[in-house]
Subunit: 414 residues, 2 copies
């Protein structure tokens, strides 16, 4: 007998038929003798509808009221799922964030979970009752409803699993696991049986939409084994996100990620003196622009240098405005930008033990005639910025060179 | 400066434009220097949608889960209304039932309000902040969300007004007050400036849909002055529901009500002996059938009599089944039913002081050739059951004979 948390996203509870499907999946786990807590998102489309209403009424709305309105979506799904469970003979009850209670910070709209009361829920789980918990929500100081920000239901599930000391947290979603690369452009991409928290964290922050970054961080901190699997094909096995030590066979590179949501900004002939980076990145931070890769060239004459950085494509105009407004304090000669760039990354905990992994990447791209514009590295990741036109070519070439291609090729199976 | 509760029903908050309209009405009261608590229903159609989902998933759903799902409708409106208020510069916050807290009984789906905590809300009202309270909901023992049953937002508003010791409870709805009769069939019907709690209670239970019966009861018990007025024409004045003593000019009859939702059942030649009424009405109660008027004729031979009663038209088949199943215990000779009957009632606290009011009713109907099938009376009401075909004729004739017709006639104004 195990204690497990099962989380279902918006497409998994999109309508009554799918909610019945969720109930059937939960019943399977109950029938296996497991104690089950279920975390549900809002029915897909509901959150967008509610957010739209709030913004229409007042773009500068009170975040506490935003939370009260938006959290209703998960409340509905939690109640409906409990009803669908009892309809097939499974004892269940719904729990709103304030009922559990899931205590959060007071940063409404993107609150952080501080603490979860589990005594009452644990007592009820022990009687065999399924707990259906509204995801994405909690209760903030002052007894107000809070929400965790987009994708927060993943975080709710992992945090609940940690608090309940669950054996496993199963994230049911619309894909059947984590792949070595995006199967839409790499037909030979393979589903990973296991992936380490660290790798998953890099993948999530590099644009893989399977799991929300904060939920992976939390799983890593609390060592909660997380399984990603498909609501619509639950027997396919999925991917286990777990401790590095639990992964026996390690490729040097585990996966190839990419994101097209990149724009590059270069400031030419910036004074090469202390404080200039602060003069550039201070205004960007104040404008709410997240800066990703940063490269500062070695100064040729010791006085002026070029500085390149990347931002999200949607932030490009805002970033350029912020730089132009700060121009007198920065003192650059020219400002150029390019929004047809993409970032391609190789990720793998095996990199730490295998020198030369980055060199293979650079050589492979060079052989394909792909120019590398910016490089950034971490202990388990190498990212390069290239022209958007070469994304598919680069990803497929790297997927092959690091021995990630499936055999027999999936293209034949399909 | 007064403390007032304003309640807005589903059609008044049906979309964002109307919610903005509600905010404007609330702002008027705030600008007059009043302390304002607002009670809102769900956007019209929302509750039906949610109830439909619950019933689709499980007709035998857990009432606690029904409440969790359905209460979300008012949660959304409360948040949106607070946002619409702040958009026009009015400080406001939403309050869910559990936040207030509005403590209710544990009879989920039709809970009764037991107690309302007002200390925190009163403190906030005193600062000039508007409290926007989700109607229809409360919190039951065990910290579960409860709902008060259909139309419960009226009850929420009156109960809140009583708890806050408000000077007035304004019920904004889609009609502009309480009329002497249904303006759809009596063109000369007049809006009443004032009506007593007792009369309003009779009107509400006789089918007038302006106010929910329980809310009138509660207003009467706590002596909360309730004003019914139109969201869409708020300056028309409305109708004040108040103490009998506050009404100076009293007609013997205040209003003429009718309901077509009636069916008549007659048991012929029932044994005229102790216990027979119990043998008949016991099975009906067990089947959940509400019996309204009951008439037992005087027995001619002292051994057998006829017994007639009325039920809601939707309950007729269920009632007949219950009687037929209990036939061996009752021992009637024949069972006849008629679902083309209607109930017409005259209501007025003045009746108590004016003998002969009922006689005028019977005489008027006789002059029009309308046969009275059943009569029932209370201290301030006389109801008769007649053929449905004569409803309009009867109501108009009674409206005239009791001097309720407006002059100049509304038909000319229209």
């Amino acid at each position: 007998m195990a204690k497990i948390v099962m989380k279902f996203g918006g497409t998994s509870v999109a309508d009554l038929a799918r909610i019945r499907g969720v109930a059937a999946l939960v019943k399977r786990e109950v029938d296996r003798g497991n104690q089950v807590a279920v975390v549900v998102s809002a029915m897909s489309g509901e959150t967008n509808k509610l957010v739209g209403w709030v913004k229409d009424l007042n773009p500068l709305h009170d975040a506490r009221e935003y939370d009260a309105v938006v959290a209703s979506g998960e409340q509905v799904t939690a109640g409906l799922t409990a009803i669908a469970l009892s309809a097939i003979g499974v004892s269940a009850r719904s729990w709103m964030g304030w009922q559990v209670a899931i205590h959060t910070s007071g940063v409404h709209g993107s609150a952080r979970i501080l603490d979860i009361d589990t005594a009452e829920m644990n007592a009820q789980l022990a009687t065999g009752q399924v707990a259906v918990v509204a995801g994405f929500q909690g209760v903030a100081p002052g007894n107000r409803i809070s929400t965790l920000g987009r994708g927060g239901s993943d975080t709710s599930a992992v945090a609940l699993a940690a608090a309940l000391k669950a054996d496993r947290c199963d994230i049911y979603t619309d894909v059947d696991g984590v792949y070595t690369s995006d199967p839409r452009i790499v037909t030979r991409a393979q589903r990973l049986e296991k992936i380490s928290y660290e790798e998953m964290l890099e993948l999530a922050s590099l644009g893989a939409k399977v799991l929300q970054t904060r939920s992976v961080e939390m799983a890593m901190v609390h060592r909660v084994p997380v399984r990603v699997l498909s609501t619509f094909d639950p027997d396919k096995g999925g991917t286990l996100v777990c401790d590095e030590e639990d992964i026996v066979e390690k490729n040097p590179v585990t996966g190839i990620a990419y994101t097209r949501d990149e724009a590059k900004i270069t400031l030419l002939r910036v004074p090469d003196k202390p404080g200039v980076a602060a003069a550039i990145f201070g205004p960007l931070a104040e404008s709410g622009v997240n800066v990703d890769m940063i490269v500062q060239n070695v100064s040729e004459d010791g006085r002026r240098t070029d500085l390149t950085f990347t931002v999200g494509r949607a932030d490009l105009d805002r970033a350029l405005d912020a730089i132009r407004n700060a121009a007198p304090h920065i003192g650059y000669k020219d400002l150029v930008s390019d929004n047809s760039v993409a970032k391609v990354s190789i990720i793998g905990i095996g990199m730490r033990a295998h020198p030369g992994i980055a060199q293979t990447m650079f050589k492979t791209l060079a052989e394909k005639g792909i120019n590398i514009q910016v490089i950034s590295t971490s202990e388990i990741k190498v990212s390069v910025l290239i022209s958007e036109d070469y994304v598919e070519l680069a990803v497929r070439a790297l997927h092959s060179v690091y021995d990630l291609d499936a055999t027999p090729p999936q293209a034949v199976e399909a």
